[in-house]
């Protein structure tokens, strides 16, 4: 029924180069501010945490401060949907690693530095930067890349109160069952894309594109974290959606350019009804205008539906919908 893009098997050197380039791009984005914590630092959550961990230290609540190791708790997503601007430059790289078969994940390092103890009533804001991608390395779990990112939490006066370095190993599982039981996955709180359940096979996403010789380059690009726009090799005309012939000059010599990944909303809709297979409603679909001069359709993610407007700045992001299909999507950009 479907013609899913064939899993691309470019040579390891080119995969490595692509991953590095994506990682460099992500790193170049620098620190990206996330959504402020849903709740201020508060006594009930501290008491609950201390009880669960068996930590009887009276100093915290006596002095109106939180246990320093709770720092990450304040900005956990919990069971809520992605909130406004709660995005991270980490996700794209992890999606690309997944797309290349590095679907296993174990956390390897967590380092936290506390500049001061946070006080009751303070509302913290996290900020994340992608730091490095190192590999491929042979490890006991299989070949993999070490991805590192840093989170800084800011207080209400915008002063850093704590920092964290987090490192994970994304590895190519030796079997399709995921990591062997001798070395089960650990956990990587802090990044949705790296949650350990993703080491298992995912339900196939039902809405697959048909792909043929004229369009394969686009979907291969997406698998590698590139937004490829068809360019006529003779007259230079850019064209999206692509096709076999240049309507401007009749040439069939086609190449592509890699889009900058920036865009603006040209139009958009919010889908409520009826239910769509593989999707949770409501979701946003937009016609995105690229500075390169073409338009492309995609979902807007990491943004409340009522915050979307025509003209808003976007940046591309890549999301793995299952173990094979990656789709380009759009998150609010820096304006």
């Amino acid at each position: 029924m479907t013609d899913a893009p064939a899993p691309s098997t470019p040579d390891p050197a080119s995969v490595d180069r692509e991953l590095r380039e994506l990682a460099d791009k992500q790193a170049a984005l620098g620190e990206m501010r996330g959504a402020p914590a849903a709740d201020p630092v508060n006594a009930p959550m501290i008491r609950h945490w201390q009880d669960a961990l068996g930590d009887a230290n009276p100093a915290y609540l006596d002095q109106g401060v939180a246990p320093p190791a709770m720092i990450q708790v304040w900005t956990m997503q919990g069971l809520r949907q992605h909130a406004a601007k709660d995005r991270s430059p980490v996700d794209d790289t992890l999606a690309a690693l997944n797309a290349h078969g590095y679907t296993g994940v174990v956390a390897t390092n967590c380092e936290q530095t506390y500049h001061r103890y946070v006080r009751l009533g303070e509302r913290l804001t996290p900020s994340t930067r992608f730091t490095s991608l190192v590999g491929p390395k042979r490890t006991a779990l299989g070949e993999g890349y070490f991805a590192t990112w840093n989170v800084t939490w800011y207080g209400e006066a915008d002063e850093p109160v704590a920092e964290m370095m987090f490192r994970i190993l994304k590895f190519r599982p030796r079997t399709s069952q995921g990591p062997s039981s001798a070395a089960p996955p650990s956990e990587t709180a802090g990044s949705e894309a790296a949650k350990p359940q993703e080491t298992g096979r995912r339900e196939p996403y039902p809405l697959r594109p048909a792909v043929n010789a004229d369009t394969a380059f686009f979907w291969e690009g997406v698998q590698q974290g590139e937004l490829r726009i068809q360019r006529c090799a003779d007259c230079g005309e850019l064209r999206h959606p692509p096709g076999p012939v240049c309507p401007a000059c009749r040439s069939t010599n086609r190449t592509h350019t890699v889009a900058s990944g920036h865009g603006t909303v040209y139009s958009y809709v919010v889908h409520h009804h009826p239910p769509v297979p593989g999707r949770e409603t409501p979701f946003v679909v937009a016609v995105v205008e690229l500075p390169e001069g073409v338009r492309i359709v995609g979902n807007i993610v990491d943004c409340p539906t009522d915050a979307v407007s025509i003209g808003m700045s976007l940046r591309v992001t890549y999301r793995a919908l299952d173990d094979e299909l990656v789709l380009p999507m759009w998150a609010p950009g820096e304006s």
């Binding site: 809405l207 959606p241 139009s267 889908h271 009826p274 769509v276 999707r279 338009r295 359709v297 995609g298």
Partner: protein
């Protein structure tokens, strides 16, 4: 020239319902019989058949059911509801050129109780045909229902011209007002207010439920013959003064988001120019129009593309009952597809014929010329029918 060479001599329909309880082929046969009886033509006289590519009833199957003899012309028109007036255009061409003498145009479906067009179908983008590939730029993102495809245009139209959801709502209110006094309409006796439109649930923002036409089971058939012969038949003919199909540059099936303008309907502009040119008429010569209304926003865009008002002026044109009975241009006196039934535009052509005959439930006075359009957002078609 095709102008005035052919006419619609008969119209027929089944009842419009949510569950016909009959096969689509049976619905087709019933509607064709009704149209033939209306025209006073025997099944054995039918030598041509035209329908939509989406129709599940092959021409030969319908011909067998009605007891037609030999066929010399059979054809299908593409692009969903955009085919409606196109079936008549092709029938007119066939009779004008002598390829056939009596052509039946039909559309029959159980669109509510059978396959519903508004439901997402994951197979839309599944095949690497040109259409499957076109859909593949949209379906993976969940943009896969007609309401979604139209909403994308509507949002841009609102942005460009400052139109509001209430402007769209005025179309729905007008159609439901018309349907309320049409006994054949599903929504007979059930008008709505603008407030009810605004309160109806979101389907795909910016479209509310009441911006979307209903889903219907039913069939409509039309008999097309030469104008000369039609004059000898039982009913006064609805002369096909002009007929046109139109596709714009950079056209896609419902998702033409990649060309310069997203706030108009260039393909309807093509149809409009051809209709005015062929007929020699102007918008002032039209007493009532049947504008395809599967979704309200495109009624505004059509008023503009066809020259009833300027670009971005449709919201003003709709004010104060502008398209209601008694208004500047009564649109869809039958209640349209929002109010009467969704038979892919074919029920609107039948209403145009009734208006010319003077037999509509909501008769507009002094009707000489009726403009009819087909599906919007897709390659489309249109007619100007005149009292003969």
């Amino acid at each position: 020239m095709l102008k005035s060479r052919a006419a619609i001599a008969g119209i027929g329909a089944t009842e419009f319902s949510k569950r016909s309880g009959r096969s689509e082929l049976r619905l087709a046969a019933e509607a064709v019989f009704a149209a033939l009886d209306d025209a006073g033509v025997a099944p054995g006289d039918v030598d041509g058949m035209v329908t939509f590519t989406q129709d599940t009833n092959q021409e030969i199957a319908v011909a067998r059911e009605i007891g037609a003899g030999e066929l010399t012309y059979f054809s299908r028109v593409e692009y969903g509801g955009g085919a409606a007036c196109g079936t008549v255009a092709q029938a007119a061409m066939a009779v004008a050129t002598g390829v056939a003498t009596t052509v039946v145009c039909y559309r029959a479906f159980n669109e509510r109780s059978g396959r519903r067009f508004g439901q997402p179908d994951a197979r839309l983008g599944g095949q690497p045909t040109s259409q499957g590939l076109e859909m593949s730029w949209h379906v993976p993102f969940g943009l896969m229902t007609p309401a979604g495809w139209v909403a994308m245009f509507a949002q841009r139209y609102m942005h460009t011209y400052g139109a509001t959801s209430e402007d769209f709502g005025r179309v729905a209110v007008a159609m439901r007002r018309h349907a309320s006094t049409n006994p054949a309409a599903w929504f007979h006796g059930r008008p709505i207010t603008l407030a009810e439109h605004q309160e109806s649930k979101w389907i795909v923002e910016p479209l509310h439920l009441l911006d979307c036409c209903q889903e219907s089971d039913g069939a409509v058939a039309l008999v097309v013959t030469t104008t000369e012969r039609a004059r000898d038949l039982r009913r006064s003919p609805a002369v096909i003064t002009a007929a046109a199909q139109g596709s714009g540059a950079g056209q896609m099936m419902m998702t033409s988001y990649y060309r310069d303008d997203m706030s108009g309907l260039p393909e309807m502009g093509v149809v409009g120019r051809r209709l005015w040119e062929m007929s020699g008429l102007t918008p002032q010569d039209i007493q009532t129009a049947i504008l395809y209304d599967h979704f309200t926003p495109f009624v505004l865009a059509q008023l503009e593309e066809l020259g009833f008002c300027g670009r971005g002026e449709a919201p003003g044109y709709l004010q104060d009952g502008g398209i209601e009975l008694g208004g500047r241009l009564p649109v869809n006196p039958n209640g349209g597809q929002l109010g009467e039934a969704y038979i892919h535009g074919m029920n609107g052509i039948a209403e145009a014929v009734r208006q010319l005959r003077g037999t509509s439930a909501n008769q507009v006075s002094g009707v000489r010329n009726v403009l009819v359009t087909a599906g919007t957002g897709v390659p489309t078609s249109g007619l100007i029918l005149s009292a003969g």
